[in-house]
Amino acid sequence: MGMKLLVVILLFGTGLGLLPMENSVRNERLRLKYGGARVTFELREAIGQNLAIALLAGLRGVVADFLWIQSHGFWEKKEWLRQYRDMEVVVTLQPQSILFWDLGSWHMAWNIGYAALTDPQNRTRAEGIKREREWHEKARDFLARGIQNVPNHYDLYFYMGWLYYEKLNNDCDEPPCRDALCRAAEYFRKAASFPDAPQYVARMYPRALEKCGDLVAAYAEWKRLWFQDHTKVEQLWSVIEREIKQLENRLNIPNDQRVFPRGTS
């Protein structure tokens, strides 16, 4: 009896003694923003009982993947609203996943948006356009939440810029809808400021500036890119050269101030 009591005291005592260590690890996780939404009744209702058990067993990633694959199935069956619902649950489970925010917004803005535009049930073309724009707005809000959750990577800033550049400009590059292209430039600038951003991200910033109408800023940015060390930075230098030449002509830059003066190769 004495030994059993000793064992119980040993187990409880060390359990209590380890509480500060457990709290330290939990706090570190909170600081690093690990995990996702807590398993609430609403979440359990949304994902079903079996997946909720898997979630509680620590298989959060597997559950999120399963729901993502399921949402992919809804996409193939053109069940957009079900797909949207699953995507929302997935990003609730793994809000740190760039992939889910990126692909989710892409589905909304490109695939679902186009399906809404061309839906035969639309009474008029205008209704289709209106519904498409609603999905563009949903994609923008979705990505904005993604950026709030994953602010330290270039990816979502770039995708937001791309969304403004390609979809939210309402197929127009004149004021006032040009504002969308200026917003795109801002997001591309932010994305390009990350050291691990690929080379095309840096090129999208001056391109969007140009479309936004700020040719001077675009020219300055292309020049900044050009004057980087060509031996250390990988870039499509021929593209940058072409853009600089094109802008120098459009801006009528005096020959002696040009990066590529006329008459040279």
Binding site: V7, F12, G15, L18, E22, E28, L56, L103
Partner: protein
């Protein structure tokens, strides 16, 4: 166990010192016996089949495929290693008692602690072998997928590329390789090993006072489930000090779940992993001591 008997002097147990050699022999025998068990092979084969089939996520983007493969494989390693830890350890002591081999061993100059430790280490070797086998296959799946994706990229870009496009392609190839062989995956495997070790220790503790195999399997499993829920309990009942103090006896298994964060590309510092592993080892040590205290007084 005959190696122990050969040349052993008829000393009383009190006069026999602790011997790592005897522990090693018992551990090696335990591993041999465990590897021959059908249930171990069944779980291991199931695990290997699941991991191998993870490479069939073919119709998704490159990023999706890599994430699905890693999530699935690490999930399978987590589940199978936990099951092997429970089932492999649960039958160690009951089998020895049922087959009466424990009498033969303990009649020799072998301390009970040596016997218990040898059994536990044998169980850990079994876990190590299982996790290593699954990890190697996981690595092979990633390698095959990586090579397939690089081949696809080469096909997409074609031959005789201008220098600029070569740079673009190389950047994408580097991205594929970096994504496939993330060194941080080792951290996830270490955390899973620490978790399985703790589960094995709990099962050993239960089996020191219970002779029922079913009980030895179900109770550690329930403790594991309770341990997985401790994090959620701490969030909900964090204010109830007494309740949390009572729950402290159950290890928080949720602390070992870092595979998701690694797959998402979140930074997982070595210091954090070290703290989690240290937590697991301290818990394991205490539980093995508790198991020894019970087993040393148990009437066999």
């Amino acid at each position: 166990m005959t190696e122990i008997a050969v040349g052993a002097a008829p000393l009383s147990r009190e006069r026999v010192g602790f011997s790592l050699n005897r522990v090693g022999v018992i551990a090696a025998n335990t591993l041999t016996e465990a590897v021959r068990q059908k249930v171990f092979n069944f779980f291991l084969i199931i695990g290997l089949v699941f991991i191998g089939s993870a490479s069939f996520f073919a119709q998704f983007t490159f990023g999706e495929q890599m994430k699905f493969i890693k999530d699935t494989c690490l999930g399978v390693i987590s589940v199978i290693s936990t099951l092997i830890a429970i089932v492999g350890t649960a039958q160690l002591l009951p089998n020895e008692v049922e087959n009466r081999t424990i009498y033969t061993i303990l009649a020799k100059p072998v301390r009970r602690f040596e016997f218990l430790l040898g059994k536990f280490l044998g169980s850990l070797f079994l876990l190590g072998v299982s996790i290593l086998a699954m990890s190697l296959l996981f690595g092979a799946v990633l390698f095959i997928k990586e090579q397939g994706m690089i081949r696809e990229l080469h096909e997409q870009y074609g031959q005789n590329l201008p220098a600029a496009e070569v740079a673009d392609m190389n950047q994408q190839i580097q991205e594929v390789t970096r994504s496939a062989f993330d060194v941080d995956l080792v951290k996830a495997l270490l955390a899973e090993t620490a978790k399985a070790t703790l589960v094995a220790a709990i099962t050993l503790l239960i089996s020191t006072f219970s002779t029922s195999l079913v009980f030895n399997v179900i109770v550690p499993f329930m403790i594991f489930v309770a341990g997985m829920l401790r994090g959620a309990a701490a969030e909900v009942w964090g204010g109830h000090k007494l309740l949390m103090a009572l729950l402290a006896v159950v290890p928080d298994f949720g602390l070992f779940s870092i595979a998701d964060e690694i797959n998402l590309g979140n930074p997982v510092p070595w210091g954090h992993i070290g703290e989690v592993i240290a937590y697991g080892l301290v818990r394991t040590l205490i539980i093995v001591i508790a198991a020894h205290l019970i087993f040393s007084r148990r009437e066999i």
